[in-house]
């Protein structure tokens, strides 16, 4: 009997169509329906999330701004041996491409060139104006007479970094490296090395903030999850109240609290704990950033912790006690392992938010509390060096991805629970 069945081909429906084909057909409709249901969200995410991220990633390596303005110059430039000054031909091609450039190309190109070597910006602007009066060669001489920067090989060598349509320059810049004039990767000048320190600082602050949020948030979440509803609601409002207050207001309130002539220091001086001249510097430094960010991000720790702890049945603790464990042992062996998903979610959430934070460090960070976010904001708004912004952002993104990956490997992402 069983022999007969195993030897037959695919199972057929009563109509003689193979069962799998028939099943697929029946399910296609469902699939299309499901797809149509997610389509709005999918396109929304595509437009508002994936496209901008793709754009950002492309900006971080895109270096076509100049190539399109000086195509001929770069052709002849490639032949130059990078010794001394380039030939008259290079000068001549450059001259005409500057002179005949239209619109704002020169302006945009000069901004980019200025990243490689400060001074290009004004040099091109001035030259564009003055080149109009020059009708014939020798161009090298005349250009140098307009501005002696044209006779400085460093400017010409700096162009070499921009020959290719893509560049790693922004990424190098983001980790305190750079191309030298021969396109070797070297360390940034010592007094311009800021990003590596900032990266370390950003991580340090984020880890500290996450740690303090956990230390402060865990007991309060435990209390929230175990108190009767009427008390826990009140307490929950206390936790969330700052959440509903403007970020700026809260930050400023902290300034009033923590500054040298602020509430905390005044209290300590008044109660003779501190001498008047030994007031603590709690504001405008890293300490302030950690304190204020901890307070601001606390709800992001408490909420996932609370919602996970809420699902931990109180009978687990009772059972553990009943089985002979001391309250502490029961907590450590039974309650804590069950709250791990909330701890993971809270920590990951707080860390991710903290690592990209910039308003609070900006306001209370002072001289050593600035984080990567502040530099992104600075380049985004002030220097317009969006390539550098993009590379800083992309590195942040990559770090988060690595973190997420490592987390998934070690703890397992399915252990994350937000409620």
């Amino acid at each position: 009997m069983s022999q007969v069945q195993t030897s037959t081909g695919p199972i057929l429906t009563t109509d003689g169509i193979p069962l799998k084909v028939s099943l697929k057909k029946a399910e296609r409709k469902n699939k299309i329906r499901a797809f149509l249901l997610v389509l709005p969200l999918l396109s929304f995410i595509l437009i508002t999330f994936l496209v901008p991220i793709g754009d950002m990633l492309s900006r971080s390596i895109d270096d076509r701004q100049i190539n399109t303005v000086f195509p001929k110059t770069f052709e002849v430039y490639k032949k130059w041996d990078r010794q001394g000054l380039p030939s008259e031909e290079v000068y001549k091609t450059m001259f005409f491409e500057v002179k005949n450039s239209e619109g704002y190309d020169i302006g945009k190109a000069s901004t980019r060139m200025n990243y490689s070597k400060s001074g290009w910006k004004s040099l091109l602007k001035k030259s564009k104006r003055k080149f109009k009066k020059i009708e014939e060669g020798p161009y090298k001489e005349k250009m140098i007479s307009i501005d002696k920067k044209w006779g400085d090989p460093e400017y010409w060598k700096a162009l070499g970094q921009m020959v290719d349509p893509t560049t790693m320059g922004y990424y190098l810049n983001a980790v305190d490296l750079k191309y030298d004039s021969n396109k070797n990767i070297v360390q940034q000048k010592e007094n311009r090395r800021i990003y590596n320190k900032t990266w370390i600082k950003t991580f340090k602050v984020s880890i500290l903030v996450t740690f303090f949020c956990l230390i402060l948030g865990y007991p309060i979440s435990y209390l929230l999850a175990t108190l009767p509803l009427k008390y826990s609601n009140l307490l929950m409002i206390c936790v969330l109240l700052p959440f509903w207050t403007s970020l700026l207001v809260r930050t400023v309130a902290w300034m009033v609290m923590l500054q040298q002539k602020g509430v905390l220091n005044n209290l300590l001086v008044m109660s003779n704990v501190l001498a008047d001249e030994n007031r603590m510097q709690l504001m405008y430094n890293q300490t302030a950033v950690v304190i204020v960010m901890t307070q601001i991000l606390l709800p992001f720790m408490v909420l996932p912790l609370f919602s996970v702890m809420k699902t931990i049945s109180p009978t687990y603790m009772r059972a553990a006690l009943n089985l002979g464990a001391s309250p502490l042992h029961a907590f450590y062996k039974v309650y804590m392992p069950n709250s791990i998903p909330g701890v993971s979610a809270g920590c990951l959430l707080v860390f991710i938010i903290a690592i990209g934070y910039y308003i609070t460090p900006e306001l209370v960070g002072g001289k050593d509390g600035q984080m990567v976010g502040n530099w992104i904001a600075y380049h985004l708004k002030t220097t317009l060096n969006w390539g550098l912004c993009a590379s800083l952002g992309a590195i942040l993104l990559a770090m988060m991805t690595v973190l997420y990956w490592a987390y998934n490997k070690i703890v397992g992402i399915e252990n994350i629970k937000l409620g």
Partner: protein, 362 residues
């Protein structure tokens, strides 16, 4: 009962949560060693509170609880050495079955080899030898229940408490588990205090049943006594199916009495907890003790009208109107005699005075 006989003793125990309402009132209870005692009652009757006080999760507001002769009110729950099976099993979800079972042994700092032996014995006892490395959530409800049972017994406690342990199981499984628990109890002879609101569960398993209502024990007896001889109308109603005839005491003579029902019929019954002529009373009568169209004559014979017939296979349940009560149930065995009743027919009902119990009106 002397101190020695009572392994667990509640003495004048009161419990209030808010200082206004007593959820347990003046509880006095003795449980001898090896007994399977069930506390049965509707929700809110205080039975779970009693159990929690025994386990140490609640403190009595007044009175004292003794375990093996020693007061235990000041001993924390983890030092009482009482096993407990919780309502939803409370198996630790992050530990395997084996780890769950080993937990009480580890906190007692037993040697690993000893632990392994006890754990595998406990698994064998509940027939789950092959499931030791599963996580609790990978088990079915019945299997989880058995693990919980094994865990409460593995450290060989003197007393096991069970708080509605079968409430989450479906009917068939529940019945099967009732027998298993009963057998385990019989095999190891441990003292069990069991809480349930399911009377058939209580009847199946217990040596004695304490019926709780309103913070008090209404009656404490063996299952058969409780069923056959309820001494209050609450117990009569709560345990098993029950017909009730409402009326007033007409006369009392010795153990017997006559109650005149509201419809004017005189019913002969046993005097249980009524005192004076003219008092209100409920006459309680089990459906299976009523004969229908019987040739025999008992003390009570009435004509009744058949209102409804429900076919239940082994018996036919008929609702009739008698003595002014139209919710009166009679169970007719589906025997070779056949019943051949029709709805609307008039039949003769008869029962013994000794089967009808005149109780208080509450």
């Amino acid at each position: 009962m002397s101190q020695k006989d009572s392994f667990v003793k509640f003495e004048k125990v009161d419990k209030s949560y808010d200082g206004e309402i007593l959820v347990v009132k003046d509880l006095n209870l003795d449980v001898p060693k090896g007994e399977f005692l069930t506390m049965l009652g509707p929700s809110g009757s205080g039975k779970t509170t009693v159990l929690m006080m025994l386990a140490g999760f609640e403190t009595p507001t007044n009175g004292e609880i003794y375990l093996d002769g020693n007061p235990i009110s000041s001993i924390p729950p983890n030092k009482r050495g009482i096993g407990m099976v919780f309502q939803n099993y409370a198996l630790f979800p992050h530990m395997t079955v084996k780890e769950n079972l080993a937990f009480p042994l580890e906190v007692r700092k037993m040697e690993q080899s000893e632990i392994d032996k006890k754990v595998s014995n406990a698994l064998a006892m509940v027939e789950l030898q092959d499931f030791g490395n599963r996580m609790p959530l990978q088990l079915s409800g019945g299997q989880q229940q058995r693990v919980a049972l094994a865990r409460s017994l593995v450290f060989e406690p003197r007393l096991v408490l069970m708080d509605e342990p079968l409430g989450a199981l479906d009917k068939n499984l529940r019945e099967q588990m009732q027998y298993e628990i009963k057998h385990i109890h019989e095999k190891i002879g441990i003292t069990v205090v069991y809480v349930t609101h399911d009377q058939s569960e209580a009847l199946t398993m217990s040596n004695r049943i304490a019926v709780f209502n309103d913070g008090k024990i209404q009656q404490i007896s063996s299952p058969d006594v409780l069923y056959e001889k309820p001494n209050s109308s609450f117990v009569a109603q709560f345990i098993g199916e029950n017909n009730q005839l409402r009326g007033k005491v007409k006369s009392i003579s010795g153990e017997n009495c006559i109650i005149t029902t509201d419809s004017g019929d005189d019913v002969h019954a046993l005097k249980i907890n009524i005192n004076n002529n003219g008092d209100g009373s409920l006459v309680s009568l089990r459906p299976e003790r009523v004969a229908i169209n019987s040739s025999e004559n008992f003390e009570n014979n009435f004509e009744a009208k058949v209102k409804e017939l429900i076919y239940l296979g082994d018996h036919i349940r008929s609702r009739v109107e008698v003595c002014g009560n139209d919710q009166f149930i009679v169970k007719i065995p589906n025997s070779y005699k056949g019943a051949n009743l029709k709805e609307g027919a008039t039949v003769k009902l008869s029962w013994k005075a000794s089967d009808s119990r005149a109780l208080d009106l509450n």
